[in-house]
Amino acid sequence: MQFNQPAGDNLFDNARLIGRPTPRIDGPLKVSGQAPYAYERHDAAEGQLVGYPVVSTIAQGRITGMDTSAAEAAPGVIGVVTTLEVGEMPTPSGMHTAPLFGGAEVWHYHQAIAVVVAESFEQARAAAALVKVDYDVTKGSFDLEAVWQQKKDDNSEPVARVGDFETAYQAAEVTLDQEYRTPSHSHAMMEPHASIAEWQDGKLTVWTSNQMIEWGRQSLATTLEMDADDIRVDSPYIGGGFGAKLFLRADAVMAALAARKLQRAVKVMLPRPMVMNNTTHRASTIQRIRIGAQADGKITAIAHEAISHTLPGGSGEDAVDQTRKFYAGDNRLIVKHLAEMHLPEANAMRAPGEASGLMALEIAMDEMAEKLGMDPVEFRTVNDTQVDPENPDRTFSDRHFVECLRQGAEAFGWVSRNTTPGGMRDGQWLIGHGVAGAYRGGPATTSGARVRLQDTGRIIVETDMTDIGTGSYTILAQTVAETMGVDLDAVEVRLGDSDFPVSAGSGGQWGAASSTAGAYAACIALREQIAERLRVNDPETLSFANGAVNAGEKQVTLASLAADGELVAEDSISFGDFRDEQVVSTFAAHFVELGVHVGTGEIRLRRMLAACDAGRILNPVTARSQVIGGMVMGVGAAMMEEMAIDTGRGYFPAHDLAGYEVPVHMDIPSQEVIFLDTVDPASSPLKAKGVGELGLCGVAAAVANAVYNATGVRVRSYPMTLDKYLDQLPAV
């Protein structure tokens, strides 16, 4: 099915199931521990051995020798695979920067360099510690600040330049020029990367934890230099990803190599302390923002420049991206710098670009509002735009950012906020309120599905789409049940298997809009088949309800149509160019109330509220969960999450869940989410967009702005730990 023009009126406008709060259909399995995650597939392959990774202890250099004899002689050990014996292997895809395994070259700390395979985990772990490695170390530089100082005045190759920023900025009545810093972040999903691999007759099966099944399969084929058709990837349940599992990672490669060498099934889970340096992370940034405005608050000039680190050849963090589209202003300058260094691979984490970019931009907007003497809600409202500021001929398909601000402010009680920084007290607590805007693209991409009508009237839907906690199982069941006129429990959803049609996968918050459209396309193909069976020329004249199809006077049950064998239909949705001729995006406004202890400086959140504009909300239950989960991650970014860099050795020393702190129950207050009642016909047949990343965007800045509002201390370097503001708190 081609999606070549905005959706007209369709069945989703009068939906029975789409848009209704629907508990997860995979819920009972998950709450009883019966949903099998990658490392738990005892059923999948016989005689599984356990592989324990050996990782490099230097950031850059070459391995000059490896002695595995002690490891191979250790009790229970079946074999060892080393990076030297395998030799250089191709980098898995254009989206990877570093190879995952193979060869003598070390690209980054904790790169996988061997896997020790034994009958048991304990034996493999003990033996892995016996592997001796000699290195030729290359001294590297890992100082982002130093590179920033060199590059920050170089605007010669901007990402975008509109009008004459410098002149307009100089002429502006009110100006702001500030730098902001965001640290590297770790996805820290609760399930570490894990895979089981087995070879049979030259064919490889990998049971793994991966957000993008087809990318994973193709990457395996590239890495192992084999035909993708000889590879099956299966990942029905994924214990979180947030971008960490977008790409093939070393666990799967090590399991596949070891299983091939030893001719046994091998399973590998990355030990938690290896996850942060072996896999990917969100890169740290330094950002400079300049805003010039008229006294009435209208922005006349805006510049956003940012630097981030990346391995050589990588693309770093696009922290400036949202600033190209979010606010109006005739004169604009956008600059992105890269600092190449041999830290572990910087890559996508939830809301790549916007998450870090808005952490800076939305503090800058708050600072600017204060300079102008304006309500920060009003300042943002004044600078809303309905067209692409770089190309005014290009409009937003559906943008209600101002409505987010209005409804959010109203529900939050913004009018009774503290308006004097440091001016509101509740006992020992300074009370602050903060607001921030959120912007995130609403992409969609080709997605396929297969539907199989059974003689029981049940419908099975199969797609390699994944559910990483997003609710895919449920929204796909809703979509199929809606389109075929059956009850929700008449639909069985099968996901994450590369034997199924290729889907959009889970990433970039494109999954929900794309995969439901793909399932809809497959259902329409099934409806056409049914029309043919019934000798009805125009499938549109059929109506599907209560497990039956009505053709004029005639009514036939779906079950009877499949009485002689299941009906199978497959199709995919693809999105036409018209979609990109507009800007399809999602918007939100975040509001936060918190207290800062007058004596200790401790920050305690009191309440949070998000108002979101993301088109039709397919399932308010799971969409709300996506948003509150993003808000939690935003609190982490504001208050505690930091992969500090050892600038001498080039790695992230705090690399487990004790050193890298994420929010816990006690950190999170009551959260409210408002979804605007909007639909975006340009987005998909269901008029839906994603929310999974929107919920994170802007949150950290709302917290930072609230801390300023509570204390009068402006912190421009995340996370807002005590060392950055305690000495500046108002006298007790």
């Binding site: 009972p28 009883s32 994420v662």
Partner: protein, 211 residues
């Protein structure tokens, strides 16, 4: 799984013979072992008595996940930092990754599988589904085991960091629940929904007590 299979023994010996003075294994061959490498224990898991021979280094978590193939109890960190491996031993919650299986001879362990199955969910499990107290589901069994134990701890009058008055009955307030649940990380960020689920069960229990 705990001892090397016979098929691979000869190969290991060959290697040992070639490197006699380098290998830790070689020392073991000549010197008397410090003690047995495995231990046989009896544990009652979800009401069923199980005899297990485990490597002495095997955690309770891996005894459950790998030996008994009860994979509902999750491994998030293996270092006592996340709570995904929470189950109860003799009624008290524990991070099973921080405890060796051999320490649990004679103990009674309850895991998520013993709390309820999809067809017959425990009220806490049902409340998690109703309030969407999870997303990816990986922390969920640990959250549920913890949540049930938290309500029992509160009922038993065990104080927490946020308990104000130690002389009166402790109520299942939001602060008490949040504080006591803070050892169970949910990176998906389902905390508010988890709180709603636990609060609902606490209220049900309170009503039950009054009735």
């Amino acid at each position: 799984m705990s001892s090397p299979s016979k098929a691979f023994e000869p190969r290991r010996r060959t290697l040992l013979a070639g490197n006699t003075d380098l290998e830790p294994g070689a020392a073991q061959r000549t010197a008397a072992p410090v003690g047995p490498e495995t231990t046989t224990i009896t544990v009652t898991v979800n009401g069923t008595e199980q005899e297990l021979t485990v490597d002495n280094r095997t955690t309770l978590l891996d005894a459950l996940r790998e030996h008994l193939q009860l994979t509902g109890t999750k491994k998030g960190c293996d270092h006592g930092q996340c709570g995904a491996c929470t189950c109860t031993v003799n009624g008290a919650r524990i991070n099973s990754c921080l405890s060796l299986a051999v320490m649990h001879d004679g103990d009674a362990v309850q895991t998520i599988e013993g709390i309820g199955m999809p067809e017959a969910l425990d009220p806490m499990q049902a409340a998690f589904v109703e309030h969407d107290g999870f997303q990816c589901g990986y922390c969920t069994p640990g959250q549920i085991c913890s949540a049930k134990a938290v309500l029992e701890e509160i009922a038993a009058g065990v104080p927490s960091h946020v308990t104000g008055d130690l002389t009166t009955r402790i109520e299942a307030t939001e602060a008490e629940i949040r504080e006591r649940m803070s050892g169970n990380i949910c990176r998906c960020g389902a905390y508010s929904n988890i709180l709603a689920a636990i609060t609902e069960v606490a209220e049900q229990q309170a009503q039950g007590d009054r009735a």
